[in-house]
Homo-oligomer: 376 residues x 2
Amino acid sequence: MGHRLADASTPARLAAPDEGIGRDELALATRNHGLPLEALRYDLTPPGLHYVLTHYDIPYVPEDEPWRLSIVGRVRHPLRLDLADLRTFPQVTTRVTLECAGNGRALLTPRPVSQPWLVEAVGTAEWTGVPLRLLLAEAGVEADAVDVVFTGADHGVERGVEQDYQRALPAAVATGSEPEVLVAYAMNGAPLPPQHGHPLRLVVPGWYGMAHVKWLRDITVTDVPFTGFQQAVAYRLRRHPEDEGEPVTRIAPRALLVPPGFPDFMSRARVVRPGPVTLEGRAWSGRAPVTRAEVSTDAGDTWQEAELAPDDGHRWAWRRWRCTWTATPGEYVLSARATDAEGHTQPLEQPWNRGGFANNLVQRVPVLCLDGDAAE
Amino acid sequence: MGHRLADASTPARLAAPDEGIGRDELALATRNHGLPLEALRYDLTPPGLHYVLTHYDIPYVPEDEPWRLSIVGRVRHPLRLDLADLRTFPQVTTRVTLECAGNGRALLTPRPVSQPWLVEAVGTAEWTGVPLRLLLAEAGVEADAVDVVFTGADHGVERGVEQDYQRALPAAVATGSEPEVLVAYAMNGAPLPPQHGHPLRLVVPGWYGMAHVKWLRDITVTDVPFTGFQQAVAYRLRRHPEDEGEPVTRIAPRALLVPPGFPDFMSRARVVRPGPVTLEGRAWSGRAPVTRAEVSTDAGDTWQEAELAPDDGHRWAWRRWRCTWTATPGEYVLSARATDAEGHTQPLEQPWNRGGFANNLVQRVPVLCLDGDAAE
């Protein structure tokens, strides 16, 4: 009759066929949120519109509470830095498109039961902070370093395992400059909002969100591979529970449309009137620069090339695209598709895995074009 | 074979018994979001944590686009004001707790199919703007005024009706000072974020969110009662579809707990260790000041008085409360209950209506207290 942690946790599972979204998934959906797709119009996503996923609770950090970042483990000079110390290092600002590894999960069949994203778990911001490689150089990483482990202040239990949120990067990535990993203290020029990691977070341009550890308080260099829950259990691409699986790392290409016209409140179906309609949106890839965006108005049977905005030098941020569609009365399914310089693109059939990770199925936007003389 | 607006809309309906949350409800839940309940710790909710409900799309208003507010209808001097004009009027800042009229809807049986809130559709901010009564006095309201209609820039269709979002206040409320209604241009000292109505919104302290029209562009004084969709069709308390129903107006009392301990990622169940646990939260009512907050650890069978924080003079904002619970190993359901100066309180049985509006059923927070020596 003991009361143990395992009693609070539910195991990983797949939804049954036709099983609606459950109370547990809804509880995640009401607290986390995606980018309302019309906000794809902003180059920089306003902080309250940027997607947010919090594994446990958002830590409450009073304004006057000191915050220390430890850099320890296989280093010659362990460091303990406050925010003023961090500001003595060179400062870098990078525009980064951040996407949740679970984006698209709720559209999969069968549906992995977890945060039920449709396609909206994305956002772009300018993050300012210290290059991680400079902090690690100051600490003096030992030659036998294998992984660098990042620990956040958010605390909870997941599948029976009590934990502070922790993720690692390979030492070569953490000390490298492609991408330039940041220990960030500002978002769009202001201190980090609570839900984005106040006061410090990691930013790993090109990688899915699980790598960008929020409320960062410890960096530990290890000489053995990190096997924590979020590295070895969660965030792996597996088809069967017993698979070892591949780790989730860089963001696969994706394009999203600004839904045209106006919506129905409840169905979210889109309505347009006949005539020229500008179709626009964003495309990104964490693997290589986006080189192509295409649009379909017939659910992917045929594709039209969209015009990519000129390269603005923001390698790690989404790129705007647009084209014109001449709408005539009828029902349509609009889609967009991104391709990157390495030839990665998006599938029309779902790329399925048990976690619903790194799934970049093309978006489907049902649109109704009204009769020209519709008086209703 | 016509293509009409009605084809994009779904009618109002109730979910079948045991019907899971649908794709349409999920599409609303992923774009709108509640207050993560741990953020009840903030006196003022950071903007990205404040609840958001958008009926249609968030209008995109470029920084340099001029915005005009019209004040027309039954007035002697119609006005057309830009933001600089508004700043020439006296400025008032009011701390307001704002709650969605549909808060709690997804917990009802049967469940009205709409935005599926659990209990988190709330937030508190300081809104700065011009008292509406001063603008109406400048325009000179005619003696036959009945309603004042507020029109936002968000456009969509709802149950077959294409519309800009519109709501009215009785002329006596709009020209009164209890509450002091504001045409607000700032939230917590900064320009309104896009999702909170940039650049202008109405703020009606004590009323549910549907009255606080965002992206406000027109105020029309009428000599007949306003019968627009959001006034006469939606936002009414009805038990049967054919009922005329009562309009939704002021916020019923509610108390919410900061969930104690730490959560399981998926179940959101809370875990605490044995010993003293501070239980704290907020209580509010739009009808009268909160005079009492109580806490139960046995699902409402017995109640303990909580200590209310001293009155801070913010009549329209939530009030903090706290008490201490000595947890022993076991399973609990925590609840909180608010009572206001007019004796309104919260029910233990659901107050049901077809829209799921103004429902202030007491919150239930399942908590597991671990064995003292739990080593897991």
